[in-house]
Structures are given as C-alpha cells and as structure tokens.
Homo-oligomer: 205 residues x 2
Amino acid sequence: MVTTKAPKVSFKAQMLQAREQALIDVMNRLLAEKGFEAMTVDEVAAEVGIAKASLYKHFPSKEDLAAAAMAHLMDKALAFVQAMPADQSALDKLRATVAWTMRLKLAGQMPTLPSQNSTLRTALMRNKGYMDGLMEVSERLGAWIEEAQAQGQVNTALQPVVVLYTLFARACDPVLEFLKATEQYDDDAIVDMVMSTCFDGLRQR
Amino acid sequence: MVTTKAPKVSFKAQMLQAREQALIDVMNRLLAEKGFEAMTVDEVAAEVGIAKASLYKHFPSKEDLAAAAMAHLMDKALAFVQAMPADQSALDKLRATVAWTMRLKLAGQMPTLPSQNSTLRTALMRNKGYMDGLMEVSERLGAWIEEAQAQGQVNTALQPVVVLYTLFARACDPVLEFLKATEQYDDDAIVDMVMSTCFDGLRQR
DNA sequence: GTCTATAATCAGATAGAC
DNA sequence: GTCTATCTGATTATAGAC
C-alpha cells in the first residue's frame, strides 16, 4: 500500500531535514556571533546535540555548512523582497529591505563571512542555492534601483551597481554594533540613524 | 668618554627598533591582506627573516603584535590630521581624511581587525599608544564635525558620534574591494564614488 | 545515521643552548 | 636576542562499531 509506506519515508525525511535545519540555525547564529574562523564545528554539533561525525554526514566540510547557512539567509532575503507590497515606491522598497537586513544584524542573526577567505568563497560559489538566491535578490534590487533613479528618487549620477553594493554593505556595517555598544540607543534609533546616513548622506541637505 | 659610548648603545637600540619596525610593517600588510585570524605568526617571522622565538622576544603575543601595528597606524593617521592645512573648511578636512583612509585600504595597507575577537580587543585597549592615538584622532575629527555642523555643512540632525563612526567605518568598507574586484574602475573613481555615497547619500539631491 | 575514539594537522607559545 | 627544536592545545576530518 502506498498510503502506509509513503508517510513512513516522509517522516524519516522530515526528521533529517529538521536536523539539518537545526544545524543551519545554530551555524547561522555562531557565524553572526563569532565569525567563520573563530567559530568551531564542535560548537555547532554540541549545541544541536549530535556528534561531530554525524554533522559531517550532513555537510562535507565547515565551508559547506557555512555556505548552506548563507543559502538559507538568501532564501529568507528573497522571500522578504518577494513579499514586498506592490503599492510602495521603489525607493521605499529599497529602504524597507535595507532596514530589514540591519535589524537582522542587530538581532545577531546576520552571518558575517570574511571577504578574503578563498576556500569559503569557492564553497559559496559552488552552492547553487546561494548563488541563485544572490542573483535573484540582486536582480530585484537592481530593478528597484533603476526604477527609483528613473523616478528621480535615487541619485542618477551613481551607477546602479554602486548603489547595490552600498545597500548590501549595510548588512555588515560595523557602525551598527559600534552604536549598539554605546548603549545609548535602542535598535529602532540605530536603524533610523544609519538609514539616514546611508540614504541622505552626512552633508546638510 | 660619553661621545664614544653613547653612539654604541644608540646603534644597538636603532637596530632593535628597526627590526621591530620591520615586524610591524609586515604585520600591517598581512593584517590587510588576510586578516588577523587567517594570518600566522610564522609568516611574519619568515618574511622578516628571523625565528619565531625571536619575534616573541619583541612582542609577547600575536594580539600584542597586532596592537602595535594598529598603534603605528594611529600614529600615521594622527600625523595626517595634524598636517592638514588650516585654510580648509572643516568639511574638506573630514573629506580629505576619509579619502586618505580609503586610499590606504585600496593600497592594501589598511589592517582590518575582527570586531568580535575579545582577546584582541583587550590587547588593543591595553596598548597605550593605540588608545592615545585613537583618542587624539577622535577628538580632532569630533571638533571638525561640530565645526562643520555649526557652519551648516554637515547634517545637524545627526549626533557627532554617529558621524564619527560613519567616517571611521569607511576605512573598512567592503564596497571598496567589491568595486575593485569588478576591475571596471581605477582607485580614483572608486574613492570618488564611495565619497559621494558617504557624504551625499544615495537619494537624489 | 549516529556514536566513540582517534587520526592528522596546524598554530601559538616556550625551553634551553649559544 | 637569536637560534633550533619542541610542547601544548585546539581544530578539521575520519574510521569503524552499532
């Protein structure tokens, strides 16, 4: 009977997928807290509550685990931009997206990777889920940027790729944690201030 | 005779100081190229051409060596801001300083430290040369910021500390290396573009 | 697939001769 | 102070039983 066999397999698969998701979640948090090099695979396994050898059955290397975590983040980002209400202006969509990434970082859920590590870069480039998500997010943001420029809301003297990189960089802006470290502002105030410096600049308008 | 003895001691001391400077220079470059965690003490010793044990006679730990490199950088930064022509506006002084840090980074001479590493943070805080330089640079930039705000050149709605952190952060802005990686812009163009996004913002003026 | 136990490697730091 | 040689500990990754 198909009806008895299919659920059994599905249940097992669900358990496995849940475990992988737990690994990715912990990895995500540790990447955000300590960074790729300072964080260890032992910590991930210990926090999830499985043996390290079992972790390596799911992911062939530390780099691949990090890539999976980044792919998951890209999925979340893509879901966010896809769920954006269509009645907002392109600029507002860009602002909302950047604010979302900032809040993620302030909440300690934004994994930060060293931009120089080559083994990690290759693992990321090999990860189809990550690359596809990155491309899709970039294209959507890029379209909004050009739309906002056409509407005269974003500086037309800036090339779209420069705007795109500048927005992406807000996700790992050290100003966020510097301001948080002063303990003088709550997260909302920090987001407001950095949003202002990002979109309006430092000069008086 | 003092005249024969003094030079002899001074010569020895000069040799030692020169060796320490060589260590700091190599450390500085490796910090910029690979970052603190990826770089090894062995590399520093090998490039300078001394044994690792000798290095540890100069600096008690990897963290202290990094702190010394950062202190040296602060010295250079302080020298730069002190040498600034007095006939420039406060805003222009700020712009010149930020541009200087960006060019340093583009030239691969800006050491980047992980902001989370706690052992490194304590080593930095303990290093009087670094802390003094940081304080002095911060105070000078802070004075310029307030002056520029009083002259209506910098957004008065921003608290000076936010402006200060935003300017400091340009020294480790990943947008610089992203744009460099595209190989479509020379360093001057990159500095111009990032200066524009920093001071003028992304929105149309 | 999960576990315990272990390999293999690498990096920070030190001992001791000179 | 500088060297060679070594220690110590941590970390990625794997072998093999169940």
